[in-house]
Homo-oligomer: 102 residues x 2
DNA sequence: TTGATAGGCAAGCGAGCACTTGCCTATCCT
DNA sequence: AGGATAGGCAAGTGCTCGCTTGCCTATCAA
């Protein structure tokens, strides 16, 4: 499991959350596709390298998975890590005390 | 509704997440009670003021609610804001396109 | 092979954040 | 009143983080 710190740090940035929105709407986008969408739809004047770094953070958090095909690298959303957020506080386990995962 | 940015920024710090853990275990704690618990149970060598600032951030995010009684200020956990996290990505709305809330 | 496209690596900079330090206010008890 | 307890305000500091800049590698098309 990805450590909680990576997950929450990844979600802490609004640009990264917008990237997740874009991947939720259309899965399997390349870096350049995400770049153009962010600048067109969201008026984000941001460089390609910045977005590439954001994607690396999201991938480290397990929120984005990638697959290579030739010179293209496709990015897919993975919302599974989000479940540990709700499980940590929304469902207090009565059987045992909490284990701090951070 | 608390803006998404405040919520995610509040969750981005591991000390704040530990505070939420403590409040989930025992609701209605005072600042000093949280202080002693963090130092005893979690070996966090951290000042009272630091924790006070953390609580302010959590309160701004809507994750903690407070009530005054004399010279005591009690802190209660509110997990309601966490729902917008799962609702944002786990439940893609097929009827309309996404609205960026960040 | 040459150029164009898609992406990666690394150093540097500026803003934001966590934390400390010092002092202040409010409430309660004797 | 006076001390003790519970908490608040604000300035300063060091580190993290987002972003840029510059250059490099890999794949594909002509």
């Amino acid at each position: 499991m990805v450590v909680a710190d990576d997950l929450f740090k990844a979600l802490a940035d609004s640009t990264r959350r917008t990237i997740l929105d874009e991947l939720a709407e259309k899965s399997g986008q390349t870096l350049f596709e995400i770049c153009s969408r962010l600048s067109m739809k969201h008026q984000l004047g941001i460089s390609r390298q910045a977005i590439s770094q954001h994607l690396a953070v999201l991938e480290a958090a397990g929120l984005v998975e990638t697959r290579r095909e030739g010179r293209y690298k496709f990015h897919d959303l993975n919302t599974a890590p989000l479940r540990q957020i709700t499980e940590r506080w929304l469902v207090p386990d009565p059987s045992g005390p909490e284990k701090s995962t951070s």
